[in-house]
Amino acid sequence: MLAMNYRGPYRVRADEKPMPQILHPEDAIVRVTRSCICGSDLHLYHGMVPDTRVGMTFGHEFCGIVEQVGPEVRNLKPGDHVLVPFNIACGKCHFCQQGLYGNCHESNAQATAVGGIFGYSHTAGGYDGGQAQYVRVPYADVGPMVIPDWMDPDDAVLLTDVVPTGYQAAEMGGIQPGDTVVVFGAGPVGLMAARSAWLFGAGRVIVIDHLDYRLEFARVFAPAEVYNFREIDDVVVFLKKQTDSLGADVCIDAVGGDAAGNALQYVFGTKLKLEAGSAIALHWAINSVKKGGIVSIVGVYGPTGNMIPIGNVVNKGITVRANQASVKRLLPRLVEHIRAGHLNPKAMITHRVPLTDIADAYHIFSAKLDGCIKPVLLPNGQ
C-alpha cells in the first residue's frame, strides 16, 4: 500500500509499505478515504517532537471504510464508513472512565503523560497513522463512529480532531455569557475555537495572528474581530486597551510550539530546540487575560519545558486549563451542532491532494503558501 514516509525534518514522501495487520483482538483495519494534515503534524514535520523516527507514517485525522475487524470487535463491521478520533483509547482505564479519552493509560508504552495518538511519534505510542491507504485502528469499538448518512465526509474527517480540539478549547475556557475571548492563532484549531466561543455565549471574540489571509478567513468564518500582531507594537498592551485595561476574560492558545512573534522564543524553541517550542502565544495569553481569568491551552508543545511567565499566573490568580481533546466525549454534541448548521467545518478545506503529492502538501501547509488553511489527502482517490 502507499503511505506517507517521514525521512527527517522538512522531508516526507509517499512510499510503498506493507499492509497493516490485526495485532490485537480489538483492532480493525480501515481503508482511508480522507486524511488531513493537522497543524500539529507540522511540529513533527519540523522535527520538534522527540522520538519521531525515520520511516514512520503520520496522520491522526482520518476517516475510512472498515475492511477487517478483530475477533473482539462488536460494534463495527466491514463496509462501515467511520470517522476515527485521533485518541487511541481503551474505554476502560481509570482515565477513560472519567471521559479523559486523550489520556488513556492502555495505549502508549513510551510515555505516561499522553495517551496513544495515531501517527504522532513514539512519544505518543509509535502507531503508524492515517496518511496512508490503510491503517490499523486499535480499540475499534471505543473511538470510531459510523458516519451518519446525512453527513458530508468532509465534515466527518474534521470531527476527528480539529473541530473537537477547537470546541474543547472554548469549553475549557469556562466562557460565561458576554465574556471577551481572545484566540491566539488563526489556524484551523483557532478558527474552530473562535467559532465555538459563540456557542458558549461569548460577547466578543478576538483573533490574533500574523497572516493576513488567515485573519481575513477568521473574520468571515468565526466571525471575529481580527488583528495582525505584526502591525501592533505590543500585543498585550493593545489587548488591555481593547478591554478597559483589565484584560480578556478568557484567552485561548491555539498555536503551540511553532509560534512566531518573538525572536528569542523562535531561536531557543524552534531552531535550537532548547525549549519545547516557541511559547510566545502562551506568554501573551497569560499576560493578556484579566486577573482571575482563564487560559485555555490546546496548542501542542513538546514534553520538556518552556519559558513562560508562571509568576504572573500566580499573581493574577489565573486558572490554566489544558488537554488533548477528548474526541469521543464531544462527538455527540458536535454532530448535533453540524446537523443544526451551527458549525460548518468543511468550509475550512482549501486543498485536496493525492497521497503521491504529500511532500508538496506538507510544504504548502508549513510555508503557508497558496492561501492554505486546511489540506486534505485523498489516499484512495476521490
Partner: protein, 185 residues
C-alpha cells in the same frame, strides 16, 4: 486503590469543606463518577509485542495495546534504549531522543542508498510547490544552497591541495630517541 497511610476518620474536621462543585476540571474529568481509584479497571487483553517496544519507566506494566511502527535500530536505536532508562521527567531522556532522531535521519539516507535508492531530497522538501507558489523564495533558497555547496567544495579542495603542496612534518616526540637532534661535542 492507592495505599492509605493515615486513617482520615481520626482527623478532626476531615472533609467538612469538601464541595463537589468546587471542581474546575468539570466537564473534562467526571470525578463524581469515580468509585475506585488506582489500577482497578478490567484490562483489555494484552497485545503480544512482535517487535522491540521501548517502555517508559513510569509505567509499571506494558499498556494493553502498543504501536509497532519503526522499532529502534542502529546507533539511534542504541541511544533510544539508553534514553529509556531515564524517566519522562528527566531532561536527558528527551535530549537523547532528539539526538537519536537526528542520527536517524543520516541512517535513513544510508538505508536508502544501500537499497539502491537515491533520495530526491528537494522533492521530499516540496521544491515543486515552492516553485509553483513562491518563485522568489525558490530562487533564494536554491541560490543559498548552491553557494554553500560551492563554498564547501572549494574549502575541501583547498584543504586537499594544501596538504599535497606542503606536507606537514611529523611532530617529534621528546621521548623518541630518534627524534632528538644529535649535538656533536
Amino acid at each position: 486503590m492507592t495505599k492509605q497511610l493515615v486513617d482520615t476518620s481520626k482527623i478532626p474536621g476531615w472533609g467538612t469543606d469538601a464541595d463537589p462543585k468546587n471542581n474546575p476540571t468539570y466537564p473534562i474529568r467526571h470525578i463524581e463518577d469515580q468509585k475506585d481509584r488506582g489500577l482497578t479497571w478490567t484490562r483489555p487483553s494484552q497485545q503480544i509485542p512482535q517487535v522491540e517496544v521501548l517502555r517508559s519507566i513510569e509505567h509499571n506494566r506494558l499498556p494493553a495495546v502498543i504501536g509497532t511502527s519503526t522499532p529502534p535500530s542502529g546507533l539511534s536505536g542504541a541511544i533510544r534504549r539508553y534514553a529509556f532508562r531515564r524517566s519522562e521527567s528527566d531532561w536527558w531522556h528527551w535530549l537523547l531522543l532528539m539526538g537519536a532522531d537526528r542520527i536517524n535521519v543520516v541512517e535513513g539516507v544510508v538505508e536508502d542508498l544501500t537499497r539502491g535508492k537515491l533520495p530526491n531530497i528537494p522533492g521530499e522538501m516540496g521544491a515543486r510547490s515552492e516553485w509553483q507558489h513562491n518563485k522568489k523564495g525558490f530562487v533564494l533558497k536554491a541560490g543559498a544552497t548552491l553557494a554553500v555547496g560551492i563554498a564547501l567544495v572549494a574549502a575541501f579542495r583547498r584543504g586537499g591541495s594544501r596538504q599535497e603542496a606542503t606536507p606537514v612534518p611529523a611532530v617529534a616526540s621528546p621521548t623518541d630517541p630518534d627524534s632528538v637532534p644529535h649535538i656533536p661535542y
